[in-house]
Symmetry: C2
Subunit: 379 residues, 2 copies
Amino acid sequence: LTVEYELACANGEDPFALAREIAVEQTAEVPEDCIPADLNERIVGHIEGMEHLESGRWRAVVSYRRAAIGPGVPQLLTILYGNISMKSHVRITDVRWPSWLLEALPGPAFGISGVRELVGVPSRPMVCGALKPMGLPVDELARRAEAFARGGIDLVKDDHGLHDQAAAPFSTRVARCQEAIERGRQAAGTRTLYLPNLGGPIDSLPARVETLERLGVRGAFVAPIVLGLDTLRWLAETSGLVLLAHPALSGVFIHPDHGIAAEILYGDLMRLLGADGVIYPNAGGRFPFSEALCQAINRRLRRRLGAIRPALPVPGGGVRVDNAPYWSTCYGNDTVFLIGGSLYQQSNLEDASKRLIDSLAAAAASNPPSASANDRSPR
Amino acid sequence: LTVEYELACANGEDPFALAREIAVEQTAEVPEDCIPADLNERIVGHIEGMEHLESGRWRAVVSYRRAAIGPGVPQLLTILYGNISMKSHVRITDVRWPSWLLEALPGPAFGISGVRELVGVPSRPMVCGALKPMGLPVDELARRAEAFARGGIDLVKDDHGLHDQAAAPFSTRVARCQEAIERGRQAAGTRTLYLPNLGGPIDSLPARVETLERLGVRGAFVAPIVLGLDTLRWLAETSGLVLLAHPALSGVFIHPDHGIAAEILYGDLMRLLGADGVIYPNAGGRFPFSEALCQAINRRLRRRLGAIRPALPVPGGGVRVDNAPYWSTCYGNDTVFLIGGSLYQQSNLEDASKRLIDSLAAAAASNPPSASANDRSPR
C-alpha cells in the first residue's frame, strides 16, 4: 500500500524527519530505539520518495507492508490516517492500492452497468430524486415518490435526514413509499428504483435490510462517515442491495492542508468499500467544490481498478433542473444527477420530472458514448 | 438541542443569512419556498442568538427540535454536522444537550468510580500501558503484558494498530495476554485490567465481545471514528465491558475554523456515547494540543451532565515516565496516563512500571481529593 502525503512544513521543519515520523507513527508507534531491527524492515513504513513542491511543501511517498495492515477495513483506515490525522499539516493526496487489497475489498456489487440494467436506462445520464423535506407525513412522502416514478425519475432516495422520526418512521415510510413507487411504475411503465435511508442505529441494520428484502426494495443508501466506513463494506458484501453513499459528515476530511483528498475519499475509498454510486457536492452549488475536483472524483469512480466495478458519480447539492443538461455534457452520460429543490419548486412534480428526463436524454444524444473501464455484469 | 457555531464570514458575507442557511441545510434541506409553514416552525432549526466576535467572526446559536432529531445517534450526528461539514467555515464550539437526549444516550457504564473499583485504586492517578509495537509475536506481547501486571500498571491496552494481523491474530493474542496478565496479578497481588483492541471488521464485533466474556476479559477499547460513533454507543449498551475510546482518525474534526471543537468531540460526545475513558493527545507531545485544550476536555469528561457518569481523561501520545507526575498535578487524580515508549526504553519493564506507579502515588498525595460530579456506582 503506497500513500502519497503532502506535507506543509513550517520554517525549519525537516520534511525527511516528518516523513519518517509518519512511517513510524502509523505502524510501530514507539521511539526509534524501541523498534527491533526486523520490525523496522517488516512493519515500519518505507519512505519511497520525497519531492519538493514549493515553499515549505513536500510530497512524501510512504509504503506499508501487508504484515502491518492485515485483514479488515478498520486497520486499513488506521494505517492510512489514524494517528497522523492529529497532526495539523499532513494530507493524503494519492493512494496506490495493491492487488491483494483490491481483491480483498468488495467494490460495487452492481456498478454502473448493473444499475443501468435495473433501471432500464442503457445510455443517458440518470436522475435521482429525493423525498423531502423531513417532517412531512408518510402520505405526502409517498405521494411525491409516486409522482417521481410516474415522471420516470430513475432513482428516488429518502432525504438523508429521514431516519426514524415520529412523522415518518422507517418501516411505515419504506413500505408506503415502495408501494407508491410500484404504483407509479405500473401506471407509467417506468422502472424507478427506490433507495431508502438505512440510517441506523447500527444494531438495527440487519433487521432493516431484511425489511427491504421482504418489501422487494432493491437499493438503499447510507452515510458511511456517519455509520462507519466498514459498515458500507459489510452492506456491500452481504445486503444484495444497490448502495449509494451519502457524504454527510464527510466534509471533515476535506481541507487544503489536511485530511484525505476528496477524489480519494469519494472516488476511491467509497467505491472500493462497495458504493454503486457516490453522492458528492457539485461545483457551483451550496458547497465549495470546484469543477476540476468533481471531474477528478468522476475519473476515479469510473477508472480501471483491478476487478473492482466502476461506480456512478452522483453530483448533488445545487444541481438544478435548468443546469443538469449542461453538467451532463461536462461529466458524460455515466452520471446520476441528484436533484431535489428545483423539482419541488415546480407545480406538478410528475410533469417536471418528465421534462427533466427528456432534457437529459436530448443532451445525452450529443455526448460521446460512455466507456467506463472494466465494467462487468453485477454479481 | 442547542448548537453554538462559530462562523468565519468572508468579506461581505451576511452572517445572519449563513446562520439561516445552516438551520435549513441541517433539516428541511430544500429551497425556502418549498418549506411548508408548519415545518418551518417544527423542523427547521431556530436561530436563538447571533454575536459578533471579531473581524468577520460570528457566533450563531441554533436550536433543533426533537421532531427533527428523533431517536438514534446517526441522525443526531447528521443534525449536528452532517451536510454543513462540507461548508468550509462553520465550526461547532458548544452543544447544550437537552435532558431527553441525556436520558436516551448511555454514557459510561462504569465511569470513574466504576473503573477505580475494578482496578482497586481509590484515589491516585492511574496508568495505562500499551502492548506494542505491532509485528511482535504473541509470546513477546504476552511477556510485556505480564511485566506490566507485575509492575502494578492499572490498565494494559493493545496498541491501536493491533488488529488481526498474522503476527498476532486477535483470538490468540487476547487469550494469551489475558492469561499473562492473570499470572502477573496473582504473582504480584495487583489488579491490572486488560483492554484488547476490538478492532473490527464491524461484523466480527459480536463474536469478539463473546470471546472476551468467555476469557474473563472485563474491558476493551475501540476507535469510534474508525468504527463509527454509533458502534461505541452499541458496545456501551450491550457489551458489559469497560470501554476506552481511542482517537485514531479523529483529528479530521479538529480545525481552527472547521469541524467540532476537541472538547466537544472528546469531552462530550465520546462520554455520552459510552466511553469510560477517552484517550486524547496530550499537550507537549507529538500532536499540537495545548494544555488549555486538554484541561477543557478533562473538565467536560468529569462535569455534571444529567445522570451521565463522568469519564476518565486518558492523555497520551507523548506522556512520559518522567513528566507523568507533573501532569498529574495539572490534571488531578481522576486521570489515566497512557504511557508507552518511555517504559519500553527502560531495561526492566516490571521495575520501570513500579517506579512510575510509586511516583504517581507520591504526586497524588499532594493533589486535592478528586470531586468528580455525579459519580455513581457502575451499572
